[in-house]
């Protein structure tokens, strides 16, 4: 069964096309992240799915029931989609319990259900408080409880953690997603945060300019992004010029295999992606590529080191490489090092490769 299915979805506001043929399948019970920057169309897509904007063309189905086919629309309140908005959007005039009981039929509002859901999100005992008496993380969990109370077919999380402090974000996210997994609810997490999408979701759909550029597992998205733009969007990327001969790709850093999951480009000039974790720094003198450290950013758990290699690329210009070093003693600026690349790389034909 498909929890959410979007096919060929188009949506324009007067004069500006926003969604340009979205195709997206979300498996029932799975957690899918829609990852996109501001202006990519995330919010509009969300509003069409929830039913606050009509689709121009294409269709949206929830649990195999068509809710919008560009002509007929099911009203938002009949779609059984639990929405957790960006900042919670709790009703300020209702208590926590009143908020959670809101979607329930009148006879159930004073029953055990609100307390059950509050227990599920770990907020037992806070039912009598008002939203402004809660912390940001607690508000977010109340919003989740409210969305879960009527057992919706689908939960939509609209950047639910972006307004939280960095320290709080990880814990609240872990708690919320654990609840969703425990209840087996189909979940769509809309976010602009790459780390959040990659670490939390079973599947990631990258949205750009109103189109889904790539939908795959987080690992595939990170290792084999659809194009250079996606590569830099989902993580730190070294993009190098190279030559692909059909079997291996050659760059200034040597010869590398390409990822098995990737569709091979036509032989010739290519753009190559090497992630910072793939490069190893060794003391100079070995037969690896020599280079010199220019900058070191120390983060504690690891360090990001910029290295200028001595070798020239096929175009004859030198650049800097970002290398992630997890040693306790990262090299200092000015130190000479050698570079070796581990594992396979991703490569695209230079035109941009879509």
């Amino acid at each position: 069964m498909t929890g959410l299915s979007v096919e060929g979805l188009h949506k324009s506001y007067p004069g500006t096309p926003v969604l340009r043929g979205i195709d997206l399948q979300v498996k029932s019970g799975a957690l899918t992240a829609i990852l996109g920057a501001s202006g990519s169309g995330k919010t509009t897509l969300l509003r069409v799915i929830t039913g606050f904007e009509p689709a121009d063309r294409g269709s949206v189905s929830v649990d195999d029931t068509v809710v919008d086919d560009g002509r007929h629309r099911v009203k938002p309140e009949q779609r059984h989609i639990g929405l957790v908005p960006q900042d919670g959007a709790l009703f300020p005039h209702l208590t926590v319990r009143g908020n959670v009981a809101f979607p329930l039929p009148r006879r159930d509002r004073h029953g055990p259900r609100p307390d059950e859901v509050l227990e599920l999100v770990g907020l037992t005992g806070l039912g009598a408080r008002y939203p402004h008496q809660l912390s940001g993380g607690q508000q977010q969990r109340v919003a989740l409880a409210r969305a879960l109370a009527s057992q919706p077919s689908l939960i939509l999380l609209d950047e639910p953690f972006s307004s939280l402090d960095a320290g709080l974000r990880a814990t609240v996210r872990a708690d919320v997603l654990a609840v969703l997994r425990a209840t087996g609810t189909t979940t769509v997490l809309v976010t602009h945060d790459q780390d959040e999408a990659l670490s939390a979701a079973d599947h990631v759909a990258v949205l750009r300019n109103g189109q889904i550029i790539q939908a795959d597992t987080p690992r595939q998205i990170y290792q084999c992004p659809a194009d250079p733009q996606t590569a830099t969007f989902v993580g730190t990327a070294n993009l190098l010029a190279g030559t692909w001969d059909g079997a291996r790709v050659t760059t200034a850093l040597g010869r590398h295999g390409i990822h098995a999951g990737q569709q091979a480009p036509a032989p010739g000039r290519v753009t190559v992606l090497i992630r910072p974790e793939q490069i190893r720094l060794t003391p100079p003198g070995s037969d690896a590529i020599p280079g010199r450290v220019t900058v070191t950013h120390y983060y504690g758990h690891d360090a990001l080191v910029a290295v200028r290699p001595d070798a020239l690329d096929p175009d004859g210009r030198a650049g800097e490489l970002r290398v992630r070093v997890s040693r306790n003693d990262p090299p200092e600026p000015g130190e000479f090092v050698s570079l070796t690349v581990r594992g396979s790389v991703a490569a695209w034909a230079p035109a941009g490769g879509e």
Partner: protein, 552 residues
């Protein structure tokens, strides 16, 4: 972007949203709010209807003037009396606005920014003058001493009666202005007073100017107090021309000039007020998270400051109230036939109550259209909604009398026409409070309710209405309060034989029957104090309270 296709050897880009568009954390609900989306036609239609009704008095005014003929109007305005009226008005406006602004600024700063003891009490007492009609204040002072008259008397009475109109917005702005800016300025090496002038004052400037505008408009519209104090202004002159001579052309000419002056004041505030408004960065309810407000320690100054507050309250509230109470216990001193107190009170309450309901109901679609859909039409309607601020009650009443006599005679001297006049006159009060509370109920919440399975009507009833209810109550209370203390339009439009408290008071006062008049004044103040107290509680709610993200 140009780094994409392999020009440099290696392009290392930190994960960067800018490659995909402008970086911003929240493109969520805000961007997709239905602002600018086409509003439903019944809403636009109702709002358009309301605004047409609001524009009618202006149309009548112009119709009446063109009936008189523009050459005659020019001749009537070239009389010597016009110059006298203009001089009087300008002198009075400058003096009262300056005095009221100084008093209001000082009081607001002491209450909101110092450790003055008894702040809650002072807050209430600062608003109390609003519940005492200016014609009552004028009557009490002139009954105390015949020396209180003319320009000096008018300045004294009007300053004491009107300073709350500046105090209210300034205090609200001070409460929203973050102390951090002031502290930053002090840290940058400015002195206490300079920091206040250069940092705090700009923050509250729009509120200060807005308050001064309210005072100016109130001065242009006031009639009763000036009549009592024998101070000649446009309103007193128009009233005399109209009632004594039934000189409609002269009244019409002066009315036009008076409206022009009011619109001039509105326009000036709009231009000057806008210039500084961008600086109030820490203001604005939306960004109000946890405001840090440091209170200044008064120290030895506590005693003189309290003395100042006692004196101010004594003059603005104590004198009128005690004088009225004194007269209440004097023997009746009238030869006029008695006017039943209960009947007059009943009329006042029903007229003012109907006007409160009518104005609130009519203002709701206009406020909703503006807050939810903005757009050109919504903004235009909203502006029209504030137009009656520039129409003094007397002018408005005369325009409607003209309309009734010429086009709808059955309406002439009916309670209905009086109620409609009140509603048009106090429409801006309803609009401003509804607008403020609709902002507290963003469409996002209604949408959330719908996604949780509520039908639109249920979402409105369960989410939006409870959130807007305080604003609806405030709107009705404001209009009710204003209508209870209204005198001028009531005198013109009251059905013959009927009396409200204000007209009964006026009848006895005109006859110098202070003791008899005082009974009605006491009831007016008592009735007006009820919504006044409600309003005080509404204004007293701090910023951020009741908002979803008050603290985080």
């Amino acid at each position: 972007m140009q780094a994409m296709n392999g020009s440099p050897l290696a392009t290392a880009v930190l994960p960067d949203a800018s490659a995909f568009g402008s970086p911003a954390a929240g493109d969520g609900a805000q961007a997709a709010d239905p602002v600018g989306r086409r509003p439903p036609w019944p809403l636009t239609g109702t709002a358009a209807l309301v605004c047409t009704a609001l524009l009618l008095p202006v149309a009548f005014l112009i119709w009446q003037a063109s009936g008189v003929g523009w050459s005659l109007i020019t001749r009537l305005l070239m009389r010597r009396v016009t110059l006298t009226l203009l001089t009087n008005t300008v002198e009075l406006t400058l003096a009262v606005t300056t005095c009221a602004a100084l008093i209001a600024l000082g009081a607001a700063w002491c209450i909101e920014r110092t450790n003055l003891p008894g702040r809650r009490l002072w807050r209430v007492l600062m608003l109390l003058p609003l519940a005492i009609p200016d014609f009552v204040t004028g009557y009490t002072w002139s009954s105390l001493s015949p020396a209180v008259h003319g320009l000096g008397g008018a300045v004294l009475v009007m300053t004491l009666g009107l300073f709350p109109l500046i105090y209210l917005p300034v205090a609200a702005a001070l409460r929203r202005a973050d102390s951090t800016l002031y502290e930053v300025a002090r840290g940058l090496g400015t002195g206490r007073f300079t920091a206040f002038l250069r940092v705090v004052l700009p923050q509250i400037r729009p509120a200060l100017l807005g308050g001064c505008l309210l005072v100016t408009l109130a001065l242009l519209a006031e009639f009763g107090a000036f009549e009592i104090l024998r101070f000649q202004t446009f309103t007193t002159e128009i009233f005399t021309e109209f009632t004594l001579g039934f000189n409609a052309p002269a009244a019409s000419a002066l009315s036009l000039l008076l409206v022009l002056l009011s619109l001039l004041a509105l326009g000036a505030e709009h231009i000057v007020g806008r210039r500084g408004s961008g600086r109030t960065t820490a203001g604005g309810l939306a960004s109000a998270r946890v405001l840090r407000i440091r209170r200044y320690r008064l120290g030895w100054a506590t005693v003189p400051v309290i003395g100042g507050f006692v004196a101010l309250t004594g003059l603005s509230v104590g004198v009128p109230v005690s004088t009225v109470v004194f007269w209440r216990f004097q023997a009746p001193d009238t030869t006029l036939p008695p006017i039943p107190l209960a009947g007059a009170a009943w009329n006042t309450v029903t007229y003012a109550g109907s006007a409160a309901i009518l104005a609130t109901v009519a203002a709701f679609p206009v406020a909703l259209l503006f807050v939810r859909h903005r757009g050109r039409l919504g903004t235009l309607f909203e502006r029209i909604g504030y137009l009656s601020q520039g129409l003094p009650g007397l002018v408005l009443a005369l325009a409607l009398v003209f309309f009734a006599i010429h086009a709808a005679y059955p309406l002439y001297q009916t309670p209905e026409l009086l109620v409609v006049t009140y509603a048009i006159m106090f429409f801006p009060l309803a609009l401003v409070s509804l607008r403020a509370s609709l902002v507290q109920a963003p469409p996002r919440l209604e949408e959330t309710a719908r996604s949780l399975g509520c039908r639109p009507a249920a979402a409105l009833a369960r989410v939006t209405l409870p959130l807007v209810a305080p604003g609806i109550a405030a709107s009705a209370a404001l209009v009710f309060l204003a209508a209870v203390v209204e005198l001028t339009a009531t005198l013109v439009l009251i059905p013959s034989g009927a009396h409200t408290l204000a007209t009964a008071f006026w009848a006895y006062q005109q006859n110098s029957s202070y003791a008899s008049a005082s009974r009605y004044a006491i009831v007016i103040v008592a009735i007006a104090a009820v919504p006044g107290c409600l309003l005080q509680r509404w204004f007293d709610r701090g910023p951020g309270r009741g908002e979803v993200r008050g603290q985080s």
